[in-house]
Amino acid sequence: MKLSSKLIYFITGSKIAVVLLFTALLPFLVASIASEYTNYSLKDQQKKVLKNISKNGIESYLQGDDNYGSYTMLKEEYISLQLERGPNEIDTIETVQRIVEQDTLSYRVLSYTFKNNGRKYLMEIGKTTGSINQYNKPLQRIALYVLLGLILLTIVADLIVTNVLVSPLKKIIYSKLINRKFPFKETALPVKTTTQDFKYLDQSLIALMEQINIDFEKEREFTANASHELMTPISILQTKMENLLADEGINETTAMSIIGMMKTLDRLKKISSSLLLISRIENEQFSKSDELYPLKLLNDIQEEIGHRTNEKGIQMNINLSGTMIIKQVNQGLMFQLFYNLINNAIKYNVPGGRIDITDHRDASGYEIKINDTGVGIAEEELQFIFDRFRKTNLSENAGYGLGLSIVKSIAIYHGIGLNVESKAGKGTVFSVKFYQV
């Protein structure tokens, strides 16, 4: 998951949790606020009554009676004064049930005993809990709306800020990691950001890429230099031998040994140039802009290699679609790839054997199969056949183990699928699959 998504999920999640918690607590909070407020107003009323009594005397309430009681019209509140004979001093606020004219009502009642003119009175001020809680619901609703509004506002603000903060990281990932293909030809531009961490990350990536580029250039230079250093002495030897051989004065024995030397030198030359070819393919020094007609290519190869199939009496059948075109490949490398595969199919075939070349097209791509009736490859050898200098079931003169390595690097360079199936003694099938056609 992306960092920005994670942040957004976390922010939204935590806010939803806050809303849920607040919603769950809201009734209790509102109720407790209401009850606090009721207690406060009861006490306030108590003070007023006591003030009236001290100012006007208790008789202003009692008017000669022992008791005084007053209800509001809907019995939501009441005040009562009465003589208290009990010994206890009372000063409480509690919720109690009272029966008033056959109705049982729940009241919040302040009870308070006080002395006046040597007599002890009990004052009660009550308020129905119904009237206390009547504002709870609307209060809760308003509080919830305000909260939701605020939360939404902060979520929007958070999303914007998160996006702005994380955007340099996105740019770094896009410009340095996703969109870069090795080798890095042009130098990378630094991403603009004021976040120190991103700056550091970006600079490190640029430095890393530059280092890779330098190393890659060094390797390329090494390849070029090594080839130069190898090819020049080989050139000298070759020209010397050619001049020696051209000398009229030499006898047959000398000529034969010069030819022997030339053959050995030629082997050295072939190995060096095969290695160079592989390194050039790996360094992507070939363009991939050719169009390829597989049927024509295979026919050309058949003509080029015909002398070998003729010599071994091998029958080669090319059965390919005549209209197929493969785009964005290197013609020369493709020739080399199929040439090497067919050359192998001839080399490891039995005299009078067959090579069948067929194709198959479906939604996943276009596949060419080269099927030979040769000696096959043992199962334990199959995984090694594309390795450099690895020989399978061959005699001394059967190549230097680079043909299939070249095939493999060409396939990797073009993004071509390469598969081999074989049964020892039965033959081998090489499949070459083009995914983009």
Partner: protein, 225 residues
């Protein structure tokens, strides 16, 4: 024909000179860009062979100036670098051909002759070969007025031998010319022998082919005065 060999490997330059002298070319040697530039200013050459990696610079840098002083010369780039960019750059700068090291001297000479034929309009109309006449440009071989059908590779073989007449060419040299980088690494194979046999069969029906000699253990040669 006058040739300037620009090559810093003195041994290689010397071997090229030895070989070309035998084919009656007159050679000058230059081991540096500076020396080559002097030679080019002072002389008119038919061929200038340029190695790319020289001690005091890149051989390619010689090309624009050289073309000014020697506009009629043919330029062949010789290099061990062998990468595509150099090749394109060289041909863009007006080089006529490009030969990757290590190259065979026979190949060098045959390229030079091909350029000479194209460039200097040396129109060897028909070369006589015993009772046959060969035209290398139109790729025909005739007996009297009768044209003989040779396969592409058979004609390549014959013309290469003819180009290097009186010189023994080994089977390896011949297959390298015909199959190039795809030449077989199975040196004792007899593909060349098979082709020669075919040529002899096709021509021998009409007239003797004793000018095409087998040199035992070595290879083949066309004898021609």
């Amino acid at each position: 024909m006058k040739v300037l060999i620009v090559e810093d490997e003195k041994t290689l330059a010397y071997e090229m000179e030895t070989f070309l002298k035998k084919a009656f070319y007159v050679c000058d040697l230059a081991h540096t860009v500076a020396k080559a530039a002097d030679c080019i200013e002072e002389n008119q050459y038919d061929f200038i062979l340029i190695d790319l990696g020289l001690p005091d610079g890149d051989g390619l840098s010689l090309l624009p100036k050289a073309k000014k002083h020697n506009p009629d010369a043919a330029y062949i780039i010789l290099t061990a670098r062998g990468n595509l960019e150099d090749r394109i750059k060289g041909l863009d700068l007006g080089a006529d051909d490009y030969l990757a090291k290590p190259f065979s001297l026979l190949e060098l000479q045959s390229r030079m002759q091909a350029i000479a034929r194209r460039r200097f309009n040396i129109n060897e109309e028909a070369i006589s070969l015993g009772d046959f006449t060969v035209n290398l440009q139109t790729r025909f071989i005739c007996f009297d007025t009768q044209q003989i059908e040779l396969s592409r590779k058979e004609f390549d073989l014959l013309s290469y031998l003819l180009l290097h007449k009186n010189r023994v060419l080994t089977r390896m040299q011949l297959s390298e010319h015909i199959w190039g980088t795809f030449a077989d690494d199975d040196y004792d194979s007899n593909y060349i022998d098979a082709h020669i046999k075919n040529i002899r069969k096709k021509l021998g029906n009409l007239a003797p082919t004793d000018w095409l000699e087998t040199v035992r253990g070595v290879g083949y040669r066309i004898r021609k005065s």
